[in-house]
């Protein structure tokens, strides 16, 4: 199969790669770049465990081809920390017990990140809607909502 040259930025780092046109973005991220924090839970775009940001928008990276990300910017869970400090979303999931097994967590956090970028002061309804495409089987979602509220407060403290 003909290979395509692609160039993309992942977590701020420039990468070039030669990929088959059928290669999925999630496989590029996990298998080529070795960033295994992005998980595969269902292969069929329903669970959201593979959610990453592509050009600022949350996408399920198991339904995006790597070639579609050519020239784009990708943010994965590994790109959330800054200078060894957890991002408030990461802190929220840890402190509010927003995770149990942790498998859905990276995807959840990426959806939450996109939400808070667009809507710094989300209501509980906004949060529920924004991450309704991400499944969690452990938590009953209660603390996931709390974790995102924690992050929202920390990023935009009430005046």
């Amino acid at each position: 199969m003909a290979l395509h040259d692609i160039r993309l930025k992942v977590n701020g780092v420039e990468y070039t790669a030669q990929v088959e046109p059928r290669l999925l973005l999630v496989h590029l991220i996990r298998d080529v770049l070795g960033l295994t924090g992005t998980h595969i839970g269902c292969d069929t775009t329903h669970c959201g465990a593979c959610t990453v940001l592509l050009n600022g928008e949350p996408v399920k990276s198991c339904t995006v081809l790597a070639v579609q990300a050519d020239g784009g910017e990708v943010l994965t869970v590994e790109g959330l920390e800054r200078d060894g400090q957890l991002h408030p979303i990461q802190e929220g999931f840890r402190e509010e017990h927003g995770l149990q097994c942790g498998f859905c967590t990276p995807g959840m956090m990426m959806s939450a990140y996109a939400l808070l970028q667009q809507n710094p002061n989300p209501t509980e309804e906004d949060i529920r809607f924004a991450i309704s495409g991400n499944l969690c089987r452990c938590t009953g979602y209660v603390n996931i909502v709390k974790a995102i509220q924690y992050a929202a407060r920390k990023l935009h403290p009430p005046q």
Partner: protein
């Protein structure tokens, strides 16, 4: 006594890893030369394998190894009495999706091409997809040694039900049906195996039961256990789906041995559904007799479970369904007939609340029906039947602490139950459901007298505390809770404790994360190990300070005289003093075995059901029912759970919320739909687990009955509250629109159908469950 660590809401130790992508799950492992393993699966539900030809597959470029059932012909199974599986089918396939051959290749593409080139000649056999049909089918049986396709049947009779029903003022019976479910843990199963030049096999697996895997690998592969190392990386949820040795783990190991290269076998989501091991389809017929005041005089129950093609945990599941009719209410007479039936479907196994959930749905529903007939409310009829703490049930289960009354009181109060029940407008309703569960099984699955849990605590010159445990953290928080117990005993900061877990080369035997056993059993072992260290340190410090050892307090990283707190040494100094005196490393070893009184009776099947302690739960659900569409929406759930003592309240609440969520799914949406042995909804869109928009507000309430034998009084928290949620919802639907849904899930179609029927035949009692009764009688 005031605790320093216990009882404080504590985020998981190492919780930074999953939030940063550093947590390594099995599929994340990368090893040099790693091959991709794939399994060829049967397209037929039941067939003889006439021939398997792998020659063309072996010639596919990139293929390194191909194996078939003949290479792994040793039978195994989680139960000593259920050794009926092989890792790949040898001469017969018994369900669609059963493995027939496997390949290891340099790439996914090569592996998949090789699978396509394996030629299998099948000779189809008659197949059965329903338990009642399978029980009445002629030979050939699905397993030649299981006549009538019955894996096992039990006929228990405790007390005297004939007398009990004769003494009853009112008797009512009803039948129920619950469908096949899948755990749908977010992480698909994965195993990686590597075989080194010294002839040692290493297996990493997303398993809840590393020790059982270890034993099974040894048996099937013919390697002594001491040449096998089993490691459990991060596990992305289990719920029972990963709590027995599974074919792909053995296949990965064999492929690694044959190829001499490391091999990874990761399931697709579709494969997870065919691997299954979830709750079985279940017919339930239940009859309860009561006195006018609601006091239960007798219970009779028949259960037929469709266990799929192999035993798996089946014999345990069918026993739990009957045994746990007891130990929640005071029932003087119980008769139980349970049939575990084989069909040509993927094997069922253990799923959260193992065996007890479906009969609990039936029981709590029927109890409400009877209460209404007698003019009692749901709380009163339950209260009339409370057990007393420290009793033995009619089937020889020992109950110690008993927090059910408190659970009911708390949810009734929090939900404003009596302000709403029978008072909400048509279309809105509220319901109550209760449940209980074991804090670990009183007897081990394997026939063994060894302790069920062992923990080693080591302290060395750096003052760090190593906690070595064989338990399997799967997200429930067992690493953290064991560390909290050790930190509490030694009076140190939690961060001083490092947990080393789930590595058979380093950690002692633990039976694993199933039957909600870990906090109780491994917790007790950790407590004992930590106390040994404490005693040793107390001895040294006591002599050095001339203070009696029993006056020493371990607190805030110090060891000091309780009566003169200034007189003391730091924890590090105490460790140093002890090491100076005796050298080496300070080692504490703890072990837990359930006491004989908690191991049940002597009758056949008595080994399932007994536990050192039972948890208790009560749930109230408030629902709205759209009478036009039949859609049920659960608005709010209040769940109170008696976990003995909440060692880590954050984790306990998390377990309650997760259980409510899974109960919600089972109540409203979840079922594996099959046709001719194929699964029609083997994916996470079609198999509908609750998403955030389906979710009610959940209010979790912790009840602490302080169990006399649990570590610091703790009991289980991970499973017990699930079962009560389902009848709470069903009872709420009845309160809302007056229809009794006795088949799960409570779909809009079923609600509409019931509403239509109700208008047609208002006032008529429910139909008798003829099908189940006659099928059982024939068997």
């Amino acid at each position: 006594m005031e605790f320093q660590t216990i009882g404080k809401p504590t985020p998981y130790l190492g919780g930074e890893d999953p939030v940063t992508g550093r947590a390594v799950y099995t599929d994340d492992l990368r090893l040099p030369g790693l091959l991709v393993g794939r399994i060829l699966r049967s397209p037929l539900p039941h067939a003889r394998i006439v021939k398997v030809d792998v020659s063309k597959a072996q010639r596919v470029p990139g293929v390194v190894a191909v194996i078939t059932g003949q290479d792994l012909a040793t039978k195994y199974g989680i139960l000593p009495v259920g050794q009926d599986e092989t890792a790949l089918a040898v001469d017969r396939v018994r369900y669609v999706g059963e493995g027939v051959a496997a390949v290891a290749a340099e790439s996914v593409e090569a592996a998949e091409e090789a699978l396509e080139r394996i030629e299998v000649l099948y000779e189809p056999l008659p197949a059965y997809f329903d338990a009642l049909e399978a029980m009445n089918a002629p030979p050939p049986w699905i397993h030649d040694d299981k006549p009538n396709n019955i894996e096992r049947e039990y006929h228990h009779h405790f007390g005297d039900v004939e007398r009990g029903f004769a003494e009853a003022d009112y008797v009512r019976e009803h039948s129920f049906f619950c469908p096949r479910l899948n755990h749908a843990a977010m992480e698909p199963h994965s195993a990686v195996a590597s075989y080194d030049l010294q002839g040692r096999l290493t297996v990493w697996s997303s398993t809840q039961t590393p020790y059982y895997l270890h034993r099974t690998l040894s048996k099937v592969l013919g390697l002594p256990m001491n040449r096998i190392r089993v490691l459990k990386p991060y596990v992305g949820g289990g719920f029972g789906g990963k709590d027995e040795p599974l074919p792909h783990e053995i296949v990965a190991a064999k492929l690694a041995m044959v190829s001499g290269r490391p091999v990874k076998v990761t399931m697709t989501r579709e494969e997870v559904f065919y691997l299954n091991r979830g709750r079985p389809d279940q017919y339930i017929w239940l009859k309860i007799g009561v006195r006018r005041d609601g006091r239960i005089t007798a219970v009779e129950c028949k259960v037929v479970q469709d266990g799929g093609a192999y035993c798996s945990y089946g014999i345990v599941t069918i026993l739990y369904a009957g045994q746990l009719l007891a130990a929640i209410y005071d029932i003087p007479n119980i008769k139980y007939d349970g049939y575990r039936v084989l069909t040509n479907k993927p094997p069922c196994g253990a799923q959260r609340g193992h065996g007890s959930v479906n009969t609990r749905f039936a029981f709590e529903s029927l109890l409400d029906m009877i209460a209404e007939d007698l003019g009692l409310d749901p709380v009163t009829i339950r209260a009339r039947n409370f057990l007393r703490p420290n009793t033995r049930t009619v089937n020889d289960l020992r109950v110690t602490s008993y927090g059910l009354p408190e659970c009911i009181r708390r949810v009734v109060e929090a939900s404003g139950f009596f302000e709403k029940w029978r008072k909400l407008p048509y279309g809105r309703g509220i319901g109550l459901g209760c449940s209980h569960y074991v804090s670990g099984a009183g007897r081990a699955i394997i026939r063994s007298e060894m302790p069920h849990s062992n923990v080693v605590v080591k302290v060395d010159v750096d003052g760090g505390i190593g906690l070595y445990t064989g338990t399997a953290e799967i997200g429930q928080g067992c690493d953290t809770v064991q560390a909290m117990i050790v930190a509490e005993v030694l009076g140190v900061n939690l961060r001083r404790v490092r947990v080393v877990a789930g590595d058979s080369d380093l950690t002692p035997l633990d039976l694993g994360s199933y039957s909600s056993r870990v906090t109780f059993m491994a917790g007790n072992a950790a407590l004992q190990a930590a106390r040994q260290i404490r005693d040793r340190l107390a001895d040294v410090v006591s002599r050095a300070l001339s203070v009696p050892a029993d006056r020493l307090e371990f607190r805030d990283e110090r060891v000091f005289d309780r009566e003169n707190p200034d007189r003391g040494v730091s924890f590090d100094e105490a460790v140093y003093m002890a090491l100076q005196e005796s050298g080496g490393t300070l080692v504490g070893k703890g072990a837990y075995s359930p006491p004989p009184e908690a191991q049940g009776g002597t009758y056949k099947g008595a080994g399932v059901g007994p536990s050192p302690a039972y948890s208790y739960s009560a749930s109230v659900a408030e629902v709205s029912v759209d009478v036009e569409t039949g859609e049920v929406r659960v608005e709010r759930v209040w769940t109170a759970h008696d976990c003995g003592r909440a060692l880590n309240p954050l984790a306990v609440e998390g377990q309650i919320e997760g259980s409510v969520s899974m109960g919600l799914g089972q109540a409203l949406t979840e079922q594996v739909v099959m046709k001719d042995g194929r699964i029609l909804n083997a994916g996470l869109l079609e198999y509908k687990t609750p998403g955030l928009l389906d979710h009610p507000v959940i209010e979790s309430i912790i009840v602490e009955s302080i169990d006399p034998e649990g570590p610091f009084g703790a009991k289980e928290a991970g499973e017990g509250s699930l079962a009560g949620v389902i009848p709470a919802i069903a009872n709420a639907v009845y309160d809302a629109v007056g229809v009794r849904i006795d088949r799960l899930p409570i779909t809009p179609e079923r609600v509409l159908e019931a509403l239509r029927k109700k208008t047609r035949t208002a006032g008529r009692p429910a139909e008798k469950p003829e099908a189940v009764v006659s099928a059982s009688a024939d068997a």
